[in-house]
Subunit: 114 residues, 2 copies
Amino acid sequence: MKASTVEIDKSATILKLLGDKTRLTMVKILDTNDCCVCEFVEIFQASQPAISQHVRKLKDVGIVREKRRGQWIIYSLNRESEYFPMIQSLLDHLPNQDFKLKELEEQGLRISCE
Amino acid sequence: MKASTVEIDKSATILKLLGDKTRLTMVKILDTNDCCVCEFVEIFQASQPAISQHVRKLKDVGIVREKRRGQWIIYSLNRESEYFPMIQSLLDHLPNQDFKLKELEEQGLRISCE
DNA sequence: TCTATATATAAGTGAATTATTATATAAGCA
DNA sequence: TGCTTATATAATAATTCACTTATATATAGA
């Protein structure tokens, strides 16, 4: 079976976005869990605006989606994106990052968004 | 079968490198053909130093290899690189770029390096 | 309605990136 | 040896990027 292909220019744009440690980890986490900004802030020990700006870039190209839930905005991987198949095969080569969410839970910080 | 994984930090570095239209196309071309700098100069209509700097970055992380052949230096994909499996699955999602080399041949510019 | 929490956005700054120009190195050949 | 071709490297200038600080928006709850 031949994989669907994505224009080189568009692919380069996506790879540049994923070529950042924070965003790449975000996407890997989102592959198995939906998350809100405040969780990412804890996970990456980064400022809220920094995290917001990262997710915005992912949202702008359609890699992630947001949905509001009360005061929180939950981000999830957009599996309908034309880039998803490429991203998925990429993520398969990355080590699981669920331990980061586990750590949050142990600190009782995951619950803040439930 | 589980894919071999590559640390997130290292992966981000590789993806950043591939997140450039010129380098991404280079790697896709190298997936099916070895090439020298002068061919890339023609293909991308870029300056020789610009091309040299791009291949150098790919070489520095071990994605490509060089071997001298007379006055030319031939670049090839390093299939032994720890990043190769990830890169390979990426390249599967990109459209074939062989037409670029075909165009060179038609202009008689491919032969310059044989 | 007032306050707190979660998130977004705008402006500014410093660091990283890419191309250019100029120069160096190395091989081939007369 | 001197000239040409192929490539590399260094310095620099222009652009892009990611973070910070400050502020705005939106929801929840007293």
